[in-house]
Symmetry: C4
């Protein structure tokens, strides 16, 4: 199977909501809700993509000689083949087609990611099963996955963390911005915005590293740091929680500046290629999360499609490192890109 | 009735001049005059919409905890359910379709607004009836409306203010920029530009709060303040009085800076969603006026459509407050948005 | 006849080269050469229009009271009804349709301009008749026109100036940028770029005021001033002498700053409406020249069309003055617009 | 044969991959790989063209008098009729149509360039024949060409330089950015990124002037200078080695600033017309390389087409010099353009 075949197959299986566009930029699916669209007029989805694509350029330099390019990432005490994670994606059948349940999706991305040396986050949703299905998939995948909890009440979170611990995952995440999701009002148990104190209580309830997802300002990042987060995800939920938000790429440098090295920074939003991964690392991220393209890979090729897309990303990232004289991820610094 | 049905119904009743576009941005109706278009090439109409949409972004922050969001507005000694007013719209049958007289329009927006806890301005026009019909509607609505006077000679204004007082409205407005309207030359009595002294004479002719509508510079705002205005409306008449004007959003911050808290500031121009309301408040407004979308709501669903659209705006504004950590309108300050 | 009818009539008579577009912006005619297009890819034509349209906005202020708006211009010791001239246009039948000779064109614009209180420049071309036909039209129009000489050798210019003097025109112009015209190589006598010394020799060869057309830099403007020019025309020949030039509007303020009040400044390029006239005056011009729209007016309505279009411009300029609190042309200063 | 006929002929022979667009800007061929497209989404190809076209404008000044315009270039101890070279283009049949081998292409561009007083670079590719065919063409053309070596191991380079010397060319080039080409992995012998030390070793292996092609930063330029390069080519390989690179025009001024006059600077990327040549010289280049348009000229008219296109460029460059008051290439300085 080639990646091209994955796309063609996905195009058939995902119609009509997702068109598997040549550039997944939020234009063709605008207003398709439920669907892959961003909120409202998809402005934030589109901005995530367009800002990263149009305003960040790589500084080509091929005078460093022929070298090995090492894109391995050390995180959570583990080694990953590349600084790439599969973002948490839930309610697949609602947003795309009924052809794919959340469990089947997890069964594609989790082994697929593992085969390519990376790892997938589990998704979530308003119902209990939206939490338990991905958790079960992580268990079946030997704990090689990161469950994502919704911002339920601290008591509910503590209870579920006990269940999370039984699958022995690498870490756990909470997408604290879920309250802005289109179906947030259907959530049971309800989703509630969190304070720094509540985040701290959650962080202290388990020894698992805590990933706070949904940070868009320096101030919020510092709260997460003080609360004891191991990592934050600079994210606006792929544009699904706001129609008029900033892009993640444009706020990333100021967030890194504010937190220094006190926390790991992941980021999602509009990342499609290895060049995009490179850009996000240069802007301050330790690693990236990629969502919609992995759904396409899963529809189009199952676990094999997920692995194939990941290998493509790795080859592109290696290319980008080669053309900018970087031999390791730590070489990918702000001076390797230009904001235009 | 759903808001979607309101739009579909409006699309049938408003053809061909207004197409009830997915985004009411002044592009499809460009040049349709009489019609909903802006003056000339609709540049100011389009700029109102585009500047607000493209250059003002919300700073998402979901680390403030779960809280009540209070969007009540105190103004004119009254309490409104949201910082939203229905803008004065007149000559409906001329600009849209003959299906709707100004009186029928008032009979939709005034009770509809009231049902949703807000209030509608009455519109105007070149003929006597364009003044008396909305006034009558306000009377029938128990004074829950704001009549809009044209900038007639001070003597005519004084006379009509006496009639205004008989309906006991909350305030009265004058759109001092009417002289630039396409049909201004047909007005009888004639519409005349006002000086600060004349505005003062008008303000002093009644105890009703005076709202000066059609301010686009700091200097003009200060004149209105000195003349005794209770509120100003930063407005270019939805782009109908100039083809090459600035957008209201881009001049709003400098006007607020100039007048400080000495006057209430309302604003219209390109506001379509609760996010837009949020943006205008962050840029310096106390409340907003919305025009064209309410005409669509009135055509598509009468009073019920007007209430429905208002509830949609309120839900969106609440969402925006939730996602930016605002609990009251006073929290919606300049640092909650970014001009990009 | 209405202006709308003028346009419809012109659309029939000018096909296929000029489409009489709703906005005459250099897009539809791009590459049509010979034709109304700009040079090359019409970039300079398009930039003239787009920069003036998109980057210059009027500061609306309606708090100055009801006043007379006087748009009369004193220039060359004469009074004109508005600060507007018909630009020199030649080789009409080549650029548009064979339906209109240069003489017939002059017979439309010269009396039409006169009827509306303004004045037309005569055009030119590579052949002798391109000079003599407009000159004859000016004679027939009682000297109410400005002949435009090509940058022939100084000797040829001096000779022809004697003939110019016999028609007793208000002034004479030379488009010194003609060397860049598409058909410049066919010129007989040849067209030659001029030095400051040569311009001076020409200025001193007659008592008629000398208008140097084709200035785009402060330095060139100062040369024209030192050479004794009465006026300069900031112009890139409507984009016909360069494909990658700046727009006239964007260089106008720096040229005015350089020359102060030592010379009158006219400007052309992308001016279509009274708002555009206002903008150019605010940016530093004393008056404007308008070309392509007058050709359309002449094809569509002859002298009557030319007068009609001029009256439309005057009404629009008056409107712009009304909405910005200007009572005379001297009020139209830089602070009445904003460059965005 | 006219240039128009060259284009029409090329349009037939080059379908379907290259459409011979009115503007060769990387839009219509986007994603056509193999083909004339840029890498990935053709962003760098498009940026090369768009930045040069949209952000660099000429300062028109026609007050310098009638003068000779000399566009002769002294370089490599030779005199060229214009500061223009045919860029190295290889694998023609793969990227365009099978109608044209690399040898046939060389047989068109080398004599065609010579006829017009300029010179063509030989192209290259992954196989041995991709090197030897152009070299043979240069030999047949009396050494009037510049062979381009791939960045093979220094030993291989040295060996081949001996063969290069036998054709007695004016200089030799190496496109050190080849490692990023789509087919780089097929190269035999392999292509390897070079260090400054390796470049130095290559420079010292022959008396032929060494042209280092593929420089995009000041730092890399300084390395090439220290390595003993006679000239560098500011180039991103027409956008074929990176999808998210900067345009060559935008980095050119900072590279010139860094190296001063210590090295000759050539540049390619988006250059289509004489105006573009002028712009690149003003931004800091000594001469330019042009690629895709010469392939079109060769398909459409063979050697005659190449000469015709070159004459067109020369006429346009002369025009640009005329309209900006430049008499020699040294007059084409930064103040003759404006970056907008």
């Amino acid at each position: 199977m080639t990646y091209q075949e994955v796309l063609e197959n996905a195009r058939k299986r995902m119609a009509p909501r997702c068109k598997v566009c040549p550039e997944c930029n939020g234009i063709a699916c605008k207003g398709i809700m439920p669907g892959p669209a961003g909120k409202g007029a998809s402005r934030t989805f589109q901005r995530n993509y367009a800002w990263l694509s149009d305003h960040v350029k790589l500084e080509m330099d091929v005078t460093g000689g022929d070298q090995e390019r090492n894109m391995e990432l050390e995180l959570f005490g583990k080694t990953f083949a590349a600084p790439i994670f599969v973002a948490p994606m839930g309610l697949i059948s609602l947003a795309y087609t009924e052809d794919m349940t959340d469990k089947k999706y997890c069964d594609a991305v989790m082994p697929g990611a593992k085969a390519a040396g990376i790892l997938a986050f589990g998704g979530g949703g308003p119902k209990a099963e939206n939490f338990y299905e991905p958790l079960e998939a992580i268990r079946e995948n030997g704990g090689w996955g990161i469950p994502t909890l919704k911002p339920w009440s601290v008591d509910v979170v503590k209870e579920r963390l006990k269940e999370v611990e039984t699958v022995n995952p690498i870490a756990f995440a909470m997408d604290i911005d879920s309250a802005g999701l289109p179906h947030a009002n259907l959530a049971n148990p309800p989703m509630l915005l969190k304070t720094e104190a509540e985040l701290k209580e959650i962080a202290e309830a388990t020894k698992l590293p805590f990933i706070v997802k949904g940070i868009m300002t320096a101030e919020a990042a510092l709260k997460a740091v003080r609360a004891g987060a191991y990592a934050i995800v600079v994210s606006n939920h792929g544009g699904r929680v706001m129609d008029n938000g900033l892009s993640t790429a444009e706020v990333l440098p100021e967030i890194r500046k504010a937190v220094g090295n006190s926390v790991k920074i992941l980021v999602d939003g509009g990342i499609r290629t290895g060049d995009d991964v490179f850009k996000m690392l240069a802007l301050g991220a330790d690693a990236v999360l990629i969502g919609r393209p992995y759904v396409i890979a899963a529809y189009g090729g199952g676990a094999e499609g997920v692995a194939l897309y990941t290998e493509k990303l790795k080859a592109e990232l290696k290319d980008a490192m080669t053309m900018t004289n970087c031999t390791a991820l730590t070489d990918i610094t702000m001076d390797k890109v230009r904001i235009v």
